[in-house]
């Protein structure tokens, strides 16, 4: 394989712009039959864009694509399927109310007028057996765990004739054990002659699992190298270029660093109703001052509901929430903000910004009952001064504080809401910061900046509840970790050293006693 690589997919001079942003700049790429090929790069480096072009989701502005030596025109996902390209996206795109079988057959149910799912069952079963994918075909997809849903997507791609399988960040929703299972399957695919391309920003996954690595940075391909030539340092250097890796930051100290007095947050026996989403069941834990407590869990296990219940957005059915010793269970959101709570919402677009209002007006949100001297008056100079300060201190790329927030890039919007919640914490006495997936979608530098802000709050004596779906990030940041599963806290771990397989087992629903 090192001698001569028979290219199966070749892409030449591919360029793509979105508005003024050049997402891909004359990229060449090729992947061979029977290999696992990793595309490595930061968020926004262009790797997903390139694969979206290959799978027909985007059209390239310039460039050529050849599959097995023949030039092809890919204008739609149907064209891509026709030449054997199948993509499994980062977020599962199955229909929740359909069974696994119905999802796999979607688009190939029978002739145009006749729905004929059952007749094709045996062919699906056979394919699944051939590839070693065991899937409960008759279960509704929404009832299946994320790892199984992903297998359904993979089987769907294979059933539609894919022999070039692209997976976009396939491990983000999985527990460590499920990740191992996934790569075992992918390796057997490659042995069987498929081309597997997987997109990731995690260096360790690349080193553990692939044959060749193509690194992207800022819309350009840096290089393609063999696994044997790759070291962690070399990959970091290729990914980050001159900037290098951001400093790691202070490691967590573990629970012994907790400061005395009332904990920043104390949750006791909290239950919530199912009408708000995943119901919380008897949730109790503390966030002491001076610590970062990580909340681990696979997405959709009640993290969002917990954050909202703590913030006062969801009413409690039972239980109490205390902030710095004060019972705030009956207070509104603004009442809790006044008591020192600051929430960094998960979805920066839907929950974070006021898109057509100016940056200054965005920074003021939440602070607005506290910072104006004359009651009821919106003092524009105060707001503008705050905006200028935030833009400077948090390095936000914006022309000035009058720009509408929607004009900023995703990373700068995230910085804006981080800046706002940090300023809010300072203004209200720094009791508790709830950070819900604060680095999702950020590049390494921006993520490191957010981490720095949270560590600084910890050093100043605030308690931080850090919610993330990325277990590596949680381990790096947290003094201790609690695990949530279907709205229940299943256990907790003291840092700073963690066994990710034990945490992963709890994330998958095993009780702590069964694990240890």
């Amino acid at each position: 394989m090192t001698e001569k690589i028979a290219a199966c997919v070749e892409m030449y001079g591919v360029s793509k712009s979105f508005g003024e942003v050049r997402a891909l700049d004359a990229v060449d790429f090729e992947a061979a039959k029977g290999e696992i090929h990793a595309l490595l790069g930061e968020n926004g480096a262009g790797k997903t864009t390139l694969m979206n072009i290959l799978s027909g989701l985007y059209r390239m502005d310039e460039g050529q694509i050849a599959v097995e030596g023949r030039e092809v025109d890919i204008h739609s996902p149907q064209d891509a399927i026709a030449v054997g390209v199948g993509m499994v996206h980062q977020h599962v795109e199955l229909i929740g109310n359909f069974t696994a079988l119905e999802n796999i057959l979607l688009g190939r149910e029978g002739s145009r007028w006749k729905l004929d799912v059952e007749a094709r069952r045996s062919s699906v079963e056979e394919l699944a057996a051939n590839y070693g994918l065991s899937i409960p075909l008759d279960e509704q997809v929404k009832t299946l765990p994320a790892g199984i849903q992903q297998k359904v997507e993979i089987l769907k791609a294979l059933y539609h004739g894919a022999d070039i399988l692209i997976l976009d960040e396939p491990t983000t929703m999985l527990t460590p054990h499920e990740v191992d299972v996934l790569f075992t399957i992918l390796k057997s695919f490659a042995k069987g002659g498929l081309t597997v391309i997987f997109i990731t920003h995690k260096i360790q996954e690349v080193l553990d699992n692939c044959d060749r690595i193509t690194v992207f940075r800022g819309g350009r391909k840096i290089d393609t190298i063999l696994r044997e030539e790759a070291t962690r340092d070399r990959l970091v250097q290729m990914m980050m270029g001159e900037r290098g890796m951001p400093p790691e930051g202070e490691r967590p100290a573990g629970p012994s660093a907790a400061r005395g007095g009332h904990p920043a947050l104390s949750v006791r026996g909290v239950h919530t109703s199912a009408k708000w989403g995943v119901p919380l069941k008897n949730v109790s834990f503390d966030v002491p001052r001076g610590l970062i407590v990580g909340l681990a869990g696979i997405s959709g296990n009640g993290q969002k509901e917990l954050a909202e219940a703590l913030a006062g957005l969801i009413e409690l059915e039972e239980g109490e929430v205390h902030l710095g010793g004060e019972d705030v269970s009956g207070l509104s959101v603004s009442g809790r903000i006044a008591e020192g709570m600051s929430l960094l919402p998960q979805d920066r677009i839907e929950e974070g910004i006021l898109p057509s209002l100016s940056l200054a007006e965005n920074f003021v949100l939440g602070l607005h009952p506290h910072i104006f001297k004359r009651r009821g008056v919106f003092e524009r100079e105060t707001a503008h001064a705050l905006g200028r300060k935030a833009i400077a201190e948090f390095n936000i790329l914006a022309r000035n504080e009058h720009v509408p927030a929607a004009h900023l890039s995703g990373g700068n919007i995230q910085k804006t809401i981080v800046a706002r919640s940090v300023m809010l914490a300072h203004e209200t006495g720094k009791t508790l910061m709830i950070a819900n997936n604060p680095t999702r979608g950020l590049d390494v530098m921006a993520a490191s900046f957010v981490h720095g802000c949270l560590r600084e709050l910890r050093a100043q004596g605030a308690g931080v509840l850090f919610i993330s779906e990325d277990l590596d990030e949680l381990c790096l940041m947290s003094d201790c970790i609690v695990v949530i599963y279907t709205g229940e806290i299943l256990g907790s771990f003291d840092g700073p050293e963690y066994d990710i397989y034990q945490i992963g087992a709890l994330m998958a629903g095993q009780k702590q006693e069964e694990v240890s």
Binding site: V333, P345, L357, L365, G366, G376
Partner: protein
């Protein structure tokens, strides 16, 4: 210093704005010209007639001012709701409710011999309260039961309309008039004229004051900021500690109060009785429908809405003369209004697509 940068930003935005509207205006004129020619009219004559009859004579100008007042207040009511994220299509009902409030107050206080400087404000306040209540109903239904204000406001339009019908035919009916119209309101409750010979009442001054008031409310008060925040992204506003229910219960009744004031002024300044057809001139679309168009063209901004309302007032007041002078149906003006709206929307959308 960020000031110079922001100044040039604003200049740029103002320029963009001007270009959008100049383009839309030119396109609308071109479409309107085609239309007039198709009806066998002369474009320049038609245009000249409209302008002369609405601005060129004192009487015409007074009529334009009298139309401008309800159009501006009704459009502010729509714009205020839009800024807060609510689509208020109940302006007509709120105008009727305001008219009822005004008339009822005038009749109730009739025997007290109040001087006009007290009586008129009290009457207008009655109208404002009537409209306020008509806006409070959809507001509270929205907050308590998540009922869409669109349905409620549309339904309340009918309720208000038939309430006026009942009052004008029944308890308040003027038996001498022989039609559905109430007894005249007392003289002391009639809004004074500012151009007595030409016939313009003081309503336009009140309406302009309301526009200025809305501007300051939106930009200089914390509640105004909260209204804009809720209108822009209610979820983010909630995460930021804003009580969205409370703000909704400010927005909808305020819309109602603005429309109610329009209805009160129509009674107190113009008709001096309660009658059907208070919301809108005969043969014309009613104020509620035009207000939505004006708010769209004025981008829900008090200054923009004021300018757009002025243009519409000129067109509405010029529409009668079109028929008299060149035999074009008066409704042609409303076709022209619709064309302006469509072109503005079209030009805006194109610019936004281009900007990405």
């Amino acid at each position: 210093m960020a000031a110079p940068a922001s100044l040039s930003d604003r200049k740029k935005m103002a320029l963009e704005f001007a270009i959008t509207y100049a383009a839309a205006g030119a396109l609308a004129l071109a479409c309107g010209a085609v239309f007039i020619v198709a009806f066998g009219g002369d474009v320049l004559v038609a245009l000249g007639t409209v302008l002369r009859s609405s601005l060129g004579t004192w009487g015409g100008f007074a009529q334009t001012l009298n139309k401008f007042c309800p159009l501006l207040l009704a459009s502010l009511a729509v714009a205020f709701g839009m800024r807060g994220g609510h689509f208020n299509i109940g302006v007509d009902g709120q105008i009727y409710a305001g008219a009822i409030g005004m008339t009822g107050t005038a009749f109730a206080l009739e025997g007290m011999n109040l001087p006009w400087p007290i009586f008129v404000p009290l009457g207008l306040l009655g109208g404002i309260l009537g409209g306020w209540f008509w806006g409070f109903i959809p507001g509270i239904l929205r907050v308590r039961f998540q009922v869409s204000e669109i349905f409620v406001t549309v339904m309340l339009n009918f309720v208000a309309l038939y309430l006026v019908d009942y009052l004008a035919n029944g308890p308040w009916n003027d038996p001498l008039a022989g039609e559905a119209i109430s007894l005249p309101i007392p003289d002391a409750s009639v809004l004074p004229q500012v151009m007595p010979r030409a016939g313009a009442h003081a309503g336009f001054i009140i309406a302009l004051a309301a526009a200025v008031g809305m501007y300051f409310f939106m930009t200089r008060t914390v509640v105004g900021y909260e209204v804009r925040a809720v209108g822009d992204n209610p979820r983010a506003a909630r995460f930021g500690g804003i009580n969205v229910a409370r703000i909704t219960l400010i927005i909808m009744p305020t819309c109602g109060a603005l429309s109610g004031l329009a209805g009160a002024i129509e009674v107190s300044g113009f008709h001096q009785s309660l009658l059907l057809g208070i919301s809108g001139a005969e043969g014309a679309p009613n104020y509620g429908a035009m207000a939505i168009l004006i708010a769209v063209i004025g981008r829900n901004n008090p200054l923009g809405v004021t300018i757009a309302a002025a243009v519409f007032a000129v067109l509405v007041s010029g529409s009668d003369s079109l028929q008299r002078s060149i035999g074009l149906p008066g409704a042609a003006v409303f076709v022209f209004q619709a064309i302006i709206v469509l072109t503005v929307v079209f030009v805006q959308a194109r610019r936004e697509i281009k900007a990405g």
